[in-house]
């Protein structure tokens, strides 16, 4: 009979034995070594029936179907654009997924997006070979205007967005900035006031650093209130945050 060695939600490091016996199955972030299920990365244990998964606490972004990401155009070819996704794999955006316009054959695609442009795009397909297709069809998906790009660990993205977008909307409210958070850990920030923008950047860095310490929301709230001197209210948005501006 199998035996679970660590408790659910406990932190494990690579190489640590999570469970013994063949009753358990290795899920994301774990491997089987003889009879044992062993952690392959640092993360929180999540037991789902017989499968053992890890919620990663660190590591590079791994593209997943349905994620809204911020990606950088690195190449233009005949049928679309190749974009960098802040992961080990680059993605492809086809003309037909990028615009509703009729684009004649051989048209100059740089009039839509050029090398160096940042896009908010949705991952619509990821193959087992990690060929990734993006789409710009959907609310909020578009080319980004001028702004600063910030990169954070993708594992901290849920913390930065907060429950139903509460965290990021609090930062936006406090600093008068526009913020878009991509699931791949790329964040776009733009504000009229350079100071507010800097506060937003510092706040996001603080969240990234302190994401694992309980009471994060309250701490960030008082931090922002102290800097901006404003009274803040928490608000939850039902929309998906990455599309929100």
């Amino acid at each position: 009979m199998g035996e679970l060695i660590v408790k659910e939600k406990e932190v494990v490091v690579p190489g640590e034995v999570i469970a013994r016996g063949m009753d358990f199955l290795p899920g994301m972030g774990t491997t089987r070594q003889s009879d044992n299920i062993v952690a392959a990365r640092i993360g929180l244990v999540n037991v789902d029936g017989r499968a053992i998964k890890l919620i990663p606490l660190s590591g590079q972004y791994l593209p997943r179907n349905g994620d809204t990401i911020i990606a950088n155009v690195v190449d233009v070819n005949f049928s679309g654009w190749r974009v960098e996704t802040n992961s080990a794999y680059s993605a492809m955006l086809n003309v037909k997924d990028a615009t509703g316009d009729f684009v004649p054959k051989g048209a100059d695609l740089t009039q839509y997006f050029d090398v160096g442009d940042y896009l908010v795009a949705k991952i619509v397909n990821v193959t087992t070979q990690m060929l990734i297709d993006l789409s710009l069809r959907g609310p909020g998906l578009r080319k980004l205007g001028e702004g600063r790009i910030l990169k954070v660990a993708s594992s901290k993205v849920p913390r930065i967005i907060g429950k139903k977008g509460s965290m990021v909307s609090m930062i936006k409210q406090a600093t008068d900035t526009k913020i878009i958070v991509g699931q791949n850990g790329v964040i776009w920030i733009s504000g009229e006031d350079p100071k507010g923008e800097l506060t937003a950047v510092n706040t996001i860095r603080k969240i990234e650093e302190e994401a694992h310490i309980p009471g994060l929301t309250d701490r960030i709230k008082s931090y922002l209130e102290q800097i901006t001197g404003r009274q803040l209210q928490m608000q939850e948005n039902s929309e998906v945050m990455a599309q929100n501006e």
């Binding site: 442009d117 001028e146 733009s190």
Partner: protein, 261 residues
């Protein structure tokens, strides 16, 4: 290829006299620190930190023959290595354009200011002299390697002591109290131009979108001893004068750090 939006954004901030990290246009990052004697095997060494940029410099002394055209002078060599650990864009192997430029700019400031009295490095005319090698290593490149490397090289020279010598044999384990014959300390300041604005101490994001840069080395008496222009865009005479003005102002700040430490 630079990200266009990033550049637009930096220019927008500059027009509001602001920068990405909240500094003023002609404000250096803090802290600027110099730490001496960081290497046991070098005759002089220093570690300079400007903000998050960290550079090491070491001074080694060797005996050699003077060059035939300067029989009564010692030699000076500067080498820079941009270690891959300091920036993901740097690769190991022979020095690239960037490393060569940094070492040459540092070398020129020291050489042309006559910072070291090379005639005192000559032991026997035409036969034996000291050669001073300065080696620069980058530990972290968060922008403005030029100024950090130049400062580190000067600090290491200031720190260096001559090794004990018996004829043509050097005892590196035994350093005398004798310092290098240093007469001047030329401080290098790099002024950058983005759009129509001038700024100092660029961070990596700013370096990527720079139009032009001018490194100016200035001695204690305010004289300019070396300059190096970089970047794709040409500068007008008025612009160069303005940049030199900014550099002259900022040398005071770096000089006080060098004098204190």
């Amino acid at each position: 290829m630079t990200a266009k939006q990033a550049r637009q954004h930096i220019v927008k901030l500059l027009n509001k006299t602001a920068r990405l990290d909240g500094r003023g246009l002609t404000e250096y990052r803090k802290p600027i620190t110099i730490e001496y004697n960081i290497s046991k095997s070098a005759e002089g060494s220093a570690r300079v930190q400007i903000g998050e940029t960290i550079v090491l410099a070491g001074v080694k002394m060797e005996l050699g023959e003077p060059y035939p055209d300067t029989p009564d002078s010692g030699g000076l060599m500067v080498g820079a290595e941009l270690l891959p650990l300091s920036n993901p864009d740097f690769e190991s192997g022979p020095p690239g354009i960037q490393a060569i430029e940094i070492s040459r700019v540092v070398d020129r400031a020291i050489r042309e200011s006559k910072a070291i009295d090379v005639t005192k490095l000559c032991i026997k005319k035409g036969e034996l002299c000291w050669t001073v090698s300065i080696d620069i290593c980058t530990l972290n490149d968060a922008g403005n390697l030029f100024d950090a490397a130049a400062l580190a090289a000067l600090a290491a020279l200031k720190n260096a002591r001559m090794p004990a010598r018996d004829g043509k044999k050097i005892d590196y384990k035994n350093l005398t109290d004798e310092k290098l014959p240093i007469q001047r300390l030329p401080i290098s300041i790099t002024v950058c131009k983005i759009a129509d604005k001038f700024l100092v101490d660029p961070i990596t994001e700013e370096e990527e979108v720079i139009d032009a840069r001018l490194t100016v080395a200035i001695m204690e008496n305010g004289e300019i001893c070396a300059m190096q222009k970089g970047g794709d865009i040409a500068l007008t005479l008025a612009e160069i004068e303005q940049m030199i003005g900014i550099a002259a102002e900022k040398t005071k700040e770096l000089r006080s750090v060098l004098d204190e430490a």
